[in-house]
Symmetry: C2
Subunit: 449 residues, 2 copies
């Protein structure tokens, strides 16, 4: 891998672009694309320019979205049209959708009518919906036809359709009534009717379904391709498992990035532009900054009390850290539970009560520990009591907030994943401080006596 990268860089530096092009044509396009991800943006463009049209087309679908944008930027519309023309409809649409309007129109006008109609038809769907990931290339067959007619249908479509694993079986109104795996077709007598050998279709996908729901269905039913149908059950397109793997990767990445307070997850590793990277990370940091200043203002407000009982100071960091952490744990469980379909609005109450029980157990353990440390450290039993009580309460409150926040965001149609990130952590810091100060105030006269 490192060798390949060095070879490519060497060929670029010494201008041996013909050698580069010849080497690229002999490689698996996925390997070349993988190596390209480690180049600078300018190097990616130079390599891509050197590729012959066929290799360029194979490589472009393997690149990350970020690198694809880099290599296609400023490419001549003719060359772009040549690439788009060769791609399956879903990939073609993805590329056109990313282009500036003028460039997109240019490229569309250079495609043949059938291709440009297909792309236009797919462009209307949200890119995160089933319609946004489906392709129109597929093999379908009527249930009344025979096995040998099905094989003939494959022969006709084999140039156009990649990865045929199943045929979609239709009734005479184009409604999907079953699926036929090739392993079954290959063993069938040529005159058998399709309806006698087809299998029931375990899942139907609507064009407006969210891609995350599509991924759940694929995982649940263990299929490698599935039909997208309209409201009447008529076949519109198909989704294949390689797209679903990308979705799974992207959705997990998105959740993880949000947990860490990073937006724009696709560029998270690849962008070398420090200002762009800072813009992806600063917004959440500034939220945190605001939250931290509010905490500081609370401390300031409480300063006269602290001046007389300075030992209270020593337990502020631990209360804040614990509340923040428990809140993130609870939020993460609920967010992921929603994402994988184990938690829903029906069982969220039960989850909340479980969280409260768990928080009480953890709160008591941590509260006893911190309270005991406080007692032995400052030889003040009331300090032990205050710290222990505050810790237990702060942990319980943080866990309730951590559980309810994702549910609330979901109701508001905001991605719940942001609630395992900085926002809830900051709110929990502030809540933890308020609880600590509240309890200290109640016991104040005992504390300083």
């Amino acid at each position: 891998m490192q060798n390949l990268l060095n070879t490519i860089k060497d060929q670029l530096e010494t201008g041996k672009l013909n050698e580069l092009s010849a080497m690229a044509a002999d490689m698996h396009p996925a390997d070349l694309a993988h190596a390209m991800e480690s180049l600078t943006d300018q190097e990616k463009r130079d390599v891509f320019q050197a590729l012959d049209p066929k290799t360029a087309t194979e490589v472009v679908v393997e690149l990350s979205e970020y690198s694809r944008d880099q290599v296609l930027e400023g490419l001549h519309p003719n060359k772009l049209a040549e690439i788009v023309d060769e791609l399956p409809s879903d990939e073609a649409t993805d590329i056109i959708a990313e282009l500036p309007t003028d460039q997109a129109r240019e490229v569309l006008s250079r495609l043949d009518e059938e291709d440009s109609d297909e792309v236009r038809a797919l462009l209307i769907y949200d890119e995160d919906s089933a319609g946004g990931i489906m392709q129109l290339e597929l093999v379908s067959i009527l249930e009344s036809q025979t096995a040998s007619e099905a094989i003939e249908a494959i022969r006709i479509k084999r140039e156009e359709v990649e990865d045929i694993h199943n045929l979609f079986v239709l009734d005479n109104q184009s409604r999907v009534v079953g699926m036929l795996p090739l392993s079954k077709l290959i063993l069938a007598d040529p005159l058998t009717r399709i309806r006698d050998i087809m299998e029931p279709c375990p899942l139907f996908i609507q064009a407006d379904e969210d891609q995350e729901a599509v991924a759940h269905k694929f995982r649940r039913y263990d299929v490698v391709s599935a039909p997208v149908v309209d409201a009447k059950g008529r076949l519109m397109g198909r989704i294949t498992i390689d797209d679903v793997m990308e979705i799974m990767q992207d959705e997990a990445q998105e959740d993880i990035a949000r947990m860490a307070g990073i937006s724009g997850e696709d560029e998270m590793f690849l962008s070398r532009d420090s200002f762009k990277m800072s813009r992806m990370r600063l917004p959440w940091l500034l939220v945190n900054l605001g939250g931290g200043l509010v905490s500081g203002w609370l401390l300031w407000h409480f300063k006269m009390r602290l001046a007389d009982a300075l030992f209270l100071l020593a337990f502020i960091p631990v209360i804040m850290a614990m509340a923040g952490n428990v809140g993130v744990q609870s939020a993460t469980i609920v967010v992921r539970g929603f994402a994988v379909g184990q938690i829903n609005m029906d069982n969220i109450r039960a989850i909340l009560f479980k969280e409260i029980r768990v928080a009480l157990i953890m709160g008591v353990v941590c509260g006893l520990t911190a309270g005991t440390v406080a007692f032995f450290w400052h030889h003040n039993p009331y300090l032990g009591l205050v710290v222990g009580l505050a810790m237990t309460s702060a942990i319980s409150a943080a866990s309730i907030l951590g559980t309810l926040a994702p549910a609330l965001f979901k109701l508001l149609n905001v991605d719940p994943a942001i609630s395992s990130g900085p926002v809830v952590a900051t709110l929990n810091d502030i809540m933890g401080l308020l609880i600590y100060f509240g309890i200290s105030t109640i016991f104040y006269t005992l504390l300083v006596q």
Copy 2:
């Protein structure tokens, strides 16, 4: 979905187990398994007991690992053997591997010799390795044979092998020399030699490869099944894409759980046992508790300084929060970069320098903001300077630690994912405080004049 769940609960309560069994036999096993995940552990066992053997076998592979353990616990060895007997070799091995040694031996002794030999052969592999997920059921063909012989090979194996999409093509020493997609076989002339229609195999997997590496390869080459080979390239088994989807889900889940300081990610949503849940979450909380107490001890140590310049107090939470957060951002980027293969030991230096640049930009923005707030709030230009400098330094230091920690853990063969969790966050809190106190001390005489 909710209706199905209510129906099942109702049938359990009123003891209509025959109805339950009949309904279950008519459903897609994946749907029943999905509904069962929302039941209590005892209800899961009751439903499972009511299923006929065939349905039980189909359902058991669809259950989560956690629920599967629940329903198989205490099942009679005969019934268990009946289920295991029907499963593909990889699933059978997974189940046997989870059983206590005595029970496993009992079940193995009840299988026929071929099945038990297969399971024993697979049991030697680490469950997270390619050997641990491969199955022995597959269809292979010699390159010298013909298309019609290949179809005959499928006919012989069709009962035993699920989901045949490709045949593995071997030379006369059992080495994998190619793959043959069924879509190509189905169109071939019956007398064509396999070597003339086979495709090169884009990937070979070694039995001891880590499952995460296997998932990368599947994603890169967009295949639905791949051969596992020994050191000489001889075919040992196959891995199919449904297993790879599970791996992807599990690996993302594991990273996310570790980021939130939760161990035992599979039980994260499903266990109703509050004590078990607390045990999964407490260890990291206690790490945090220790770290928080160290921060408190630092504050205590610095208390005399604070008593004379109490306004310093107000910026402690914001310095700690920002350092913690930036550290988590950097660690998350590096951890995920390792996981998806975009970051490796070769480019970690470049990543570190980029992180430092990004941290400096974010540090200056946040430092200026916080410094300005400090200046206007307390009308002390030196406070502004101290807060601004401390913020910039703490953010830069946190980002360096956040980048290096995952690389260090990787070198030590510890999962780098723990470094986006509580450990690094706590270290960053402490480092942030030390920086703040250090800078305050340098400027102390100016601050309090």
